[in-house]
């Protein structure tokens, strides 16, 4: 099984990197660009065949390590 975790900054947390990208896109002439936010993806191969168990394990990984819940939120996608 494969899990993809999306970690993004909570709304309200300033994202200077996203802002800089937005700025750069503007400089490159992309005029229709509004807000830009950056986040990360963590792709995990799992030997766990059971979907529910896998989901629970990944959730626990997120809480423990993958996201800093002071500033970040996460979503999990299993496939």
């Amino acid at each position: 099984m494969k899990a993809r975790v999306f970690v993004t900054l909570k709304s309200g947390v300033l994202d200077p990197q996203g802002k800089a990208i937005g700025h750069a896109l503007d400089n490159l002439g992309f005029r229709a660009v509004g807000e830009v936010r950056q986040g990360k993806i963590i792709d995990i191969e799992l030997a766990e065949p059971n979907r529910e168990k896998a989901a629970a394990a990944v959730k626990s990984m997120c809480e423990k390590l993958l996201a800093n819940t002071v500033i970040e939120k996460y979503e999990i996608e299993l496939k």
Binding site: V13, P16, K64, L65, N68, I71
Partner: protein
Amino acid sequence: MKSAVIVFPASNCDRDAHDAILHVTGTKPHMVWHGDSEVPDVDLIVLPGGFSYGDYLRCGAMAAHSHIMGDVRRKAEQGVAVLGICNGFQTLTEAHLLPGALMRNAGLKFVCREVELVVDESQSAFTRKYSRGERLRFPVAHGEGNFFASDDVLDRLEGEGRVAFRYGEGDNPNGSARNIAGILNEKRNVLGLMPHPERACDPLLGSVSGRAMFQSLLESLS
């Protein structure tokens, strides 16, 4: 004063912290490996600067989960002084021993330079030999020192006198909220700060502003 410096994989200011403590206080710290389960019986634990675990994922995130941190947490709760410098500060926030988070510098670049630091709180084992409002020169060297916390956490930190150091007005190198450079925990026995006191203990290197921190600890903990 008995002290210990924790060595994480890719800590790189561990020796600097060791040398500064030795030279300023005349006491020799234990060097403690991250994989150990116990910190020796000490009065001060230092989490040094560096790039523990490569700073991959988030700075300090993996160090916060390393084996030794269980005992660091226990000892911190028992009141042992814990000093987190730079990467050590990041680790303390990731371990929730200090509130908030350290984000990417607002300028998006690593910054190594001297900054003006203003002492905001001298009532602690770390800062008693400084006086409130005193202006210091400290080196910083980090890519992620932009302190973030919600407004109510920030208000609380300020209200409880837990902001130990701020960057001088106009000299904030990383965009930290309210110019915060270092904070204390509720019990005031844990201090995290981004600037490097251990690099400011020798006149040959340009500043001796950091000596008073180790002298404070020596006085408080002996």
